[in-house]
Amino acid sequence: MQLLIELLRSTIMAATPVLLAALGGTYTFYSNIFNIAMEGMMLIGAFMAVLGSYLFGSWVIGLLFGLAGGILAALIFIIFAVYLKTDEFVTGIAINMLALGGTTYLLRQIFDVKGAFMSPEIVAIPTWKIPLLHDIPVLGKLISGYPFIVYVALLAALLVQFHVYKTRFGLRIRATGEDARTVDSVGVNSSSVKSISIFYSGILCGLAGVFLSLGYVNLFAENMSNGRGWIALAVIILIQGRPLGILLMSLVFGFFEGLGLTLQGTAIPSQFTQMVPYLATLVALYFYSREKQTGVEVEEVEAV
């Protein structure tokens, strides 16, 4: 029982950064921007969060720093990809490399360490004990006491769903993704819509980074985003952007990452256990695309 609860808790913890990044990527998915920079946005966010928290001794400042980091990366993306019209793929790669190289460099310059920076002076994100529920034996353990960003992420999934499908901005963002010229023709500036969508993805990826370095663990390590931005991208493409589906897929990914961590206690070499979530993603992709293909055929036949 204890083990199961631990596994479910680690599932939710591991799912959170992927979920946040993928929700950010949802905006760029709908505005038809190939946003592979989520990895970099997250990493910059994670580094800045540790920097802010350590320097000022406050998780609030850490949070703000982290968000600012994500936004900074988003602004670079906007300037190049939207206004200078550089290739989105190349721009994204550049941001990711800049993020990896830049944070590693600054880690050594500012903190004078290699690999990872840990300190008791890094103030972590506070956890939230849900009143009343927290004291219920199993349930309380399961749903209470996470860093508060976990709850923010769950709420964000609902909000993004609502934002994209029920609001004016949502209507415009999806239209922009489908045909930007038409959007321009009705007097809406499609470049602004795209910029805003990248901006939102920057904020959410930054938040994912904050959670990584101040919630999931309490340190900054080189390349600590460790492919989660890519996993988020895979999730978005897999789910075709529906936020609630993304929530589900992130949990699946989180489960396998948690499983991988749990298996580390066993005799299986850690290199293999670390592969588990990524293998699971591949398997999911395989089944999903097979499902989709047969699904399409059935639909077409019915249409005749």
Binding site: T167, R174, E178, D179, T182, V183, V186, E300, A303
Partner: protein, 518 residues
């Protein structure tokens, strides 16, 4: 004929004075044009391609800046920086290319950009629906607001474009060649709708180069030629030839003269051609017909009823069809595209992508296909082309087909549409095959080029070549065809003699109202 007198005093709604638009570096597109549009009228602007009618309207609409001149709306000078400002002032334009989001519903497309919202930008679709429904009813538009754009017809999409403008309270509508994409029945419907709009006190500016339409619809007609306004006339007792003379500057033959066809041996035969695409949709269903040497067989049909697939099957771009295609009695089903090209000339409908390579020179474009199958173009080694022979062939095409060019090494994109098409027609006709496949040979060309190309097609026929002519232009099909086939949903539903039927009847076949076994 609509010649209803305006029941209002003639109020000058829009006044354009001495407008000049120069496209850099030095193309005078609109030259000192004065134009007055009166309130509540249907005012047509006609002219050949490149006459400046669309440019003039784009300048009015704020899509492009103009160099000099003034525009007044209700006596006040205006100069819109963007279409958005024009729409706010009550002027809306429906472009030839529709601006609609395919996956969105009619309602969503109508409100995009001017969405009614409640708190936090939440869409208020109910409020939007009420207003849009009222407009649909008021103007008798007959649209399902919940239908997705990708599922509705071109004519319905056009209605959505008009609805979009009505929703924005526009009272001056500019329509840029709206009938180009419609069937005869749909054109009738559009005209009665425009007349209704006029009755509801809207002013309509109608751009066209089709004389019959303009005569049927307009109160006033302005003719433009080469950037200048030729004349503005009230549509009373005007004749088609008067208009045409004003438009082209010379007498025009509308019906290219042709003698009785003298069909010879069979050149093309299609037996039971059936094609199912990869989405398991049956696009062609048991097509049977033949073409003999020395005749033009026209194929009429609303776009998307299998013409595209039929062309691709004949050309070999689709090779997984069932049935037989024979040329001169020999099956070609297993031949490659190149081998088929030795047997047939092909004019693709899309001039810019399939018909030519826009960035390449006139020479390169002239020798395409020839370079693979004409031994005269290669020297001693087959892999090397003979530049001298290439130039010579290009020169022949230019002479024979009257192509106006800036220079033989210029890219083909520097030629006007009509001249580009002449190059492509010339290239294909010079292949000297017994069978020619023409897919929309004159679409989007000016009256002069159309006349020239149609004459060449008839001359080709008279030289004993069998021609399959696919066209969306019923006038063209009636002018040129010796026999007319009508395709509907992948089936040939009728074969008629164009001398014995009228357009309405063909139109009914095209829409499936007639001739389909249920």
């Amino acid at each position: 004929m609509v010649n209803a007198k305006l029941n209002r005093p003639d109020i000058e709604l829009i006044k354009i004075s001495s407008l000049v638009k120069i496209y850099p570096p030095a193309t005078l597109a609109v030259d000192q044009v004065d134009l007055t549009i009166k309130e509540g009228e249907i005012h047509s602007i006609i002219g050949e391609n490149g006459a400046g009618k669309s440019t003039l309207m784009k300048a009015l609409y704020g899509l492009i800046p103009y160099n000099s001149g003034k525009i007044y709306l209700r006596g006040k000078e205006i100069n819109f920086g963007s279409p958005k400002e024009a729409v706010r002032a009550g002027i809306g334009m429906v472009h030839q290319e529709f601006m609609l989001i395919p996956s969105y519903t009619v309602l969503e497309n109508v409100i995009l950009g001017v969405e009614p919202t409640g708190y936090f930008g939440v869409l208020n679709k109910r409020k939007a629906r009420e207003r849009v429904e009222k407009l649909v009813e008021e103007y008798n538009l007959n649209l399902n607001l919940n239908a997705r754009i990708e599922d509705i017809s071109v004519a319905a999409r056009q209605k959505v474009e008009i609805l979009k403008l009505l929703y924005k309270d526009v009272d001056i509508l500019i329509l840029d060649e709206p009938t180009a994409v419609l069937t005869p029945q749909e054109i009738e419907e559009l005209f009665s709708r425009l007349k209704r709009l006029k009755a509801m006190e809207k002013t309509i500016i109608f751009i066209s180069h089709k004389l019959d339409e303009v005569l049927e619809l307009s109160d006033t007609i302005t003719v433009m030629r080469k950037g200048k306004k030729v004349t503005t006339m009230v549509n009373e007792n005007l004749t088609k030839s008067e208009l045409a003379r004003a438009m082209v500057g010379r007498e025009v033959v509308f019906t290219v003269k042709k003698d009785e066809a003298r069909p010879g041996d069979e050149v093309l035969r299609i037996n039971n051609l059936t094609y199912t695409d990869r989405y398991k949709q049956e696009r062609l269903k048991g097509i049977n017909f033949n073409i003999r040497k020395g005749e033009i067989v026209g194929l009429a049909g609303v776009e998307g009823n299998g013409q595209f697939e039929l062309v691709n099957c004949i050309m070999g771009l689709i090779d997984d069809y069932q049935g037989e295609i024979l040329i001169n009695g020999v099956r070609i089903d297993n031949l490659s595209i190149l081998e088929r090209r030795k047997l047939m000339a092909y004019l693709p409908q899309d001039r810019k992508d399939t018909g030519s390579a826009q960035d390449l020179s006139l020479i390169s474009n002239s020798i395409m296909t020839h370079h693979r199958i004409n031994p005269g173009l290669t020297g001693r080694w087959e892999a090397l082309l003979d530049p001298g022979a290439s130039r010579e062939l290009t020169g022949q095409i230019i002479d024979k087909f009257n192509v106006l060019i800036p220079g033989i090494d210029a890219p083909i994109s520097s030629l006007s549409g009509g001249n580009q098409q002449k190059v492509i027609v010339g290239r294909e006709f010079m292949l000297n095959t017994d069978f020619v496949l023409l897919d929309q040979p004159t679409r989007g060309l000016d009256v002069g080029s159309i006349e020239f190309i149609q004459k060449e097609i008839i001359r080709k026929r008279d030289s004993g070549v069998g021609i399959l002519l696919i066209s969306a232009d019923l006038d063209e099909l009636f002018n040129l065809s010796d026999r007319l086939l009508i395709i509907y949903q992948g089936r040939i539903v009728a074969e008629v003699d164009p001398a014995e039927v009228d357009k309405e009847e063909v139109g009914e076949y095209m829409l499936g109202a007639k001739g389909v076994a249920s």
